[in-house]
């Protein structure tokens, strides 16, 4: 685990030296399982900063809600750093106005996996590199940390921030890229009707709350296609066509932009699986165009870089 004191010291330095105006990080939430995102503007507040495996939001989401000219400091893990890069590529942020405090990430703990093992009355959670200790009304539990990780984190490739300004803790080795490919191939090995049945089963639980959209750093459109009244691009009620259309187009808009942080899935109140959609698109972008989102702050995503050379790619 990264040293919390080192994070606090760095945050205080950023604020007191005036490097940034605000630091985006986490503070304790209403329950032990949900630390919540917080904006630190005063040095005195920084003592309440927390960071652990249960910090489930992608903090890059908040960048597009703050002015482009504001100097922002931010705690970044591997996926968040790539999201920030993707935002810089899309000219939503200026890299020189951001100060990224990098944390090598050991994976985000899926709070649902804790709740299904211990019940909802969780009193306290402590963790170290290998174990998670949970005190709940049902008793005290000791879990293997790897068993509680979110699916996206299990197949994560770039756990260390790629271009953070300062790195707290030691860089971690790169993950295994084949894990992500395997996840897609396992799903595609099913018959076409089974795949549709799975998609139908997941999408029909949707209540159209758009929590996935709000949690996603790349969903920053001022007006989303589902919110249009005239023309109405898709059914906006909780109808089968509307729910499926939302899931398909939301995922497809992330083609070449998704960093597979899994924030959409963790935000979903109906526990709908979504990363099997975006993971497929990421997989295709890697295979067809050799593109991985956010590895640097310059490379444009495949859909934005069309040239006439493409004619060799498609058969006539």
């Amino acid at each position: 685990m990264p040293d919390l004191d080192a994070i606090k010291t760095e945050t205080k330095r950023l604020l007191s030296e005036g490097v940034v105006e605000v630091v985006v990080a986490f503070k304790p939430g209403d329950t032990p399982l949900h630390p919540q995102p917080a904006f630190f503007m005063n040095v005195d507040d920084v003592d309440s900063l927390v960071y652990d495996g249960l910090c489930q939001n992608n903090l890059a989401t908040f960048l597009t809600r703050l002015p482009k000219s504001q100097k922002i400091g931010m705690l970044v893990r591997g996926c968040e750093n790539r999201s920030v890069n993707a935002l810089v590529v899309e000219k939503q942020k200026l890299r020189e106005n951001l100060f990224l405090v990098g944390i090598p990430c050991e994976g985000i703990i899926d709070w649902r996996k804790i709740v299904e093992r211990t019940g909802e009355a969780v009193i306290a959670v402590h963790e170290n590199d290998l174990n998670v200790f949970v005190d709940s009304r049902a008793g005290n539990f000791n879990f293997n940390r790897a068993d509680l990780l979110h699916e996206s984190c299990l197949r994560c490739t770039h756990r260390t921030p790629v271009n953070a300004d300062i790195l707290i803790g030691e860089a971690l080795p790169e993950g295994d890229l084949t894990l992500a490919a395997t996840a897609v191939e396992v799903f595609e090995a099913h018959e076409i009707d089974e795949r549709y049945a799975w998609f139908h089963k997941e999408a029909e639980r949707c209540i159209r709350c758009y929590a996935c959209r709000e949690a996603c750093p790349m969903c920053y459109c001022t007006e989303c296609f589902v919110d249009h009244i005239e023309p109405r691009w898709t059914e906006s009620g909780a109808t089968p066509a509307g729910m499926q259309g939302w899931h398909i187009v939301r995922a497809f808009h992330q083609t070449g932009r998704c960093t597979d942080c899994g924030a959409c899935e963790r935000a979903c109140p109906m526990d709908i699986k979504m990363t099997y959609l975006t993971e497929k698109l990421n997989h295709d972008m890697r295979n067809k165009y050799g593109f991985v989102t956010g590895l640097d702050a310059q490379t444009q995503p495949p859909f934005a870089t069309v040239t006439l050379d493409d004619k060799n790619r498609f058969s006539v």
């Binding site: 795949r195 549709y196 139908h200 259309g245 497809f252």
Partner: protein
């Protein structure tokens, strides 16, 4: 199959250069083919394709100019990148890949579109009507949901 397969045809307005072909598409298109004319293949948003699929199209045909013949230089290439990926994506969640067809039309050719539609229709008849992803709410007369 009693009914002919329903085909949604997206046509770039520049790709049917021969007047006879364009007239055929405009006036004599069979009833089972629904034509949407766009200023360029690049204007075809994947959402349009999804809407036809959800509305019950058995197949979607997308026509475009040959590479380097696009009126807007790279519109057909941009569309191809997006729509090809969208087709793969639809296949991932259960819509047969064969139901979406791309046709490059040479400006010099004559009668290609009729031939391609006939071949596509034959293949769709073999596949049968689409069932997956066809979820659009039926709207009764007067705009009420049936």
């Amino acid at each position: 199959m009693l009914q002919k397969p329903k085909i949604a045809l997206f046509q770039c307005q520049w790709c049917l250069y021969a007047p006879a072909d364009q007239e055929w598409v405009d006036t004599q298109l069979p009833e089972n083919i629904h034509l949407t004319k766009t200023p360029c293949t690049g204007r075809i948003n994947p959402l349009y394709v999804l809407n036809t699929v959800q509305g019950g199209a058995d197949g979607v045909m997308i026509s475009g100019c040959l590479p380097e013949q696009c009126h807007f230089k790279t519109g057909n290439m941009a569309a191809r990148r997006q729509l090809e990926e969208f087709n793969d994506f639809l296949n991932h969640i259960g819509y047969e890949k064969e139901r979406v067809r791309f046709v490059w039309l040479d400006l010099q050719d004559r009668g290609i579109i009729q031939k391609q539609l006939a071949i596509f229709e034959e293949e769709l008849e073999a596949l049968g009507p689409a069932s997956n992803l066809v979820t659009r709410t039926k709207v009764a007369e007067g705009g009420r949901h049936a």
